[in-house]
Assembly symmetry: C4
Homo-oligomer: 201 residues x 4
């Protein structure tokens, strides 16, 4: 029978990958060769998309942090579900760069939405695989509860992609910004459960 | 009610991001294709700005290290205040590169000062959010005391930006170098408090 | 006499290097300057080779994780065997990029196989040097058992290289994909031994 | 009075920086656009200098690892001495790239020696600042003993620089390779002291 292992090194590796993703995105902000204000101003689409993706990676790090706080053990399925999530997150520097470089053109904006959606699905799979190990009365399942945000996000991403393609890219961006705004508020449900657990010790 | 969490993973993630920022700045030092001394000499402005930013990231790492030594728990506000600080620090490779590439021209030098100021403000917000959690009689509040350096730095950055814009870039640089010099001396106030705490255990 | 040391920092350093390798490979996916679908489609060989190498680094991280779970101490030979493994893994971004950039041409595909083989040999040496320290009745030796996968992989890599050179590159790729598929299933042997050990405590 | 702090985060940050330095050096190995053997063969000087610098960063990581194993506390001076060492190590990707790119021309080879010498001096200062804190009868002082390798290396680097400048670059390289070879043998003195300490517990 398969036995679970400690999650500490899983966290360390994920922190490393997330730290690198969040930082190498800034390399897309190519240093202009002229000291002119116009050279700087021309970078605004890349800068704006950098800020948005920075916030998204920050959200994933925060949520990952909270998720692992109620996850003591991991099995092989969880290790791979985690790598799967990191894979989609690792594509963010590319899709962010393509969208910024092309001033939020239609196709790159839709692809950015596809990437965000894939990250959300991968996160959901990771969550499921942990709940599968802990059982439906485990800490994570309790902490997540009805998971409204987690269910709302993919709908918003899809609406954003549809909006970007059929209406205008800025319509899509509004949805992507909205989801980020919803998540920046930290996940108090898990904090609550962790707090109660610490009290009862 | 929101419950605080351990800061260990916050530290690990911040260490990762700071380590990457401090290291990728060297990528702006593009390897010359000729082995000539002139090719090397032409890099001095980029090298000098690299050294200055290396020292600044080192200062932030040191101070962050000391701050976290008296901070055992974090809440959502602290997590985001920390990411906000990392965001501004992550722009340093860009502003450093722009300033060095353009031989300390006026606008890039002022922008470098803006970046330094933004980092200082973000650090101050992080400090406030920790003190808010610990209370005004908490360890960090005691350790910081009147926080003279923390209050002096933004004034110096502002003077530097004004000087770089209206007088000459090197005037601004003098202020930026001066702030770095003030901070390189490690924060003995916190070391003192930590020391006393360890003694009393 | 030489004395063994704790492996915790060995793990931290390896995690860092593996996290960077897995993430910088995405930099080979150069952001196209046009928002056209053709510009994106042209990237498929680089994307496919990125996915394969991502999976391979993930496999090495997983196996390294499992190996270190049954290795408490390290000596100088183990430290260098570990660095030797990291060296060959650090070349993967280069060989992956060369293969993708040249649409799986014959020579780059063979070189990719050489790199994979070198990683496998380096991993095997690391395994041997740990078993040498622990003794043949140690935890790792027990956990590995007959090591069928470890013995099969180099044969498959060799067949892949021969196939890529004499038949066609896609023949070689099939072998490289097959080995990855075999390994994605996590190493249950070690999980079993760790589990039994935890039970007996 | 200044009080010492734990070294664990110092180690984590140093591991991060060293992991990034050792990995981004491979980015100098630019992926050729042709699948031809000549395109690969043209990279040999960059490859060779990459291998040498990889070994050097590996040596520094190993020795740093051993040094920190006998160092429990750090003060401000140690933190900055450590950052100073990381600074010179962070320049290795640049000097390595310049030397490789220019096929071991005279000036780049001498500069590489300068960089190695600066790293050695910075390491020595870090060692001194730890011994200053621990006292001359402390663990590190005992572990190092007469420090023959540490005293021999700067002499060899200097001979290498002189040889590269006045005789031929390959003469210098021989000295740089020789020092690496001397150090690859791990520092058994410290391992011995740590071993004895663990025994006596």
């Amino acid at each position: 029978m398969e036995k679970p292992m400690k999650t500490s090194r899983l966290e360390a590796f994920s922190d490393g990958v997330l730290a690198i993703i969040i930082t190498i995105m800034v390399l897309e902000l190519k240093v202009p060769h002229e000291p002119a204000p116009t050279a700087l101003a021309a970078l605004w689409p890349i800068f704006f998309s950098y800020v948005l993706s920075f916030v998204y990676v920050g959200i994933y790090w925060n949520n990952h942090h909270h998720m692992m706080a109620v996850t003591e053990h991991a099995n092989g399925a969880i290790l791979w579900a985690n790598l799967h999530l990191l894979f989609w997150l690792s594509l963010l520097p590319f899709t962010t760069g393509w969208m910024g470089e092309n001033h939020f053109a239609r196709l790159p904006t839709v692809l950015y939405g596809v990437n965000l959606l894939a990250c959300a699905v991968a996160y959901y799979i990771l969550q499921l695989s942990i709940i599968h190990l802990q059982g439906s009365d485990g800490l994570l399942a309790k902490a997540i509860g009805r998971d409204r945000k987690g269910k709302l996000s993919p709908i918003f991403y899809t609406l954003g992609m549809v909006g970007a393609w059929f209406a205008a890219p800025w319509v899509g961006m509004m949805f992507f910004v909205a989801v980020a705004a919803i998540w920046v508020v930290p996940d108090r449900r898990i904090e609550r459960v962790v707090g109660q657990q610490q009290k009862s010790r």
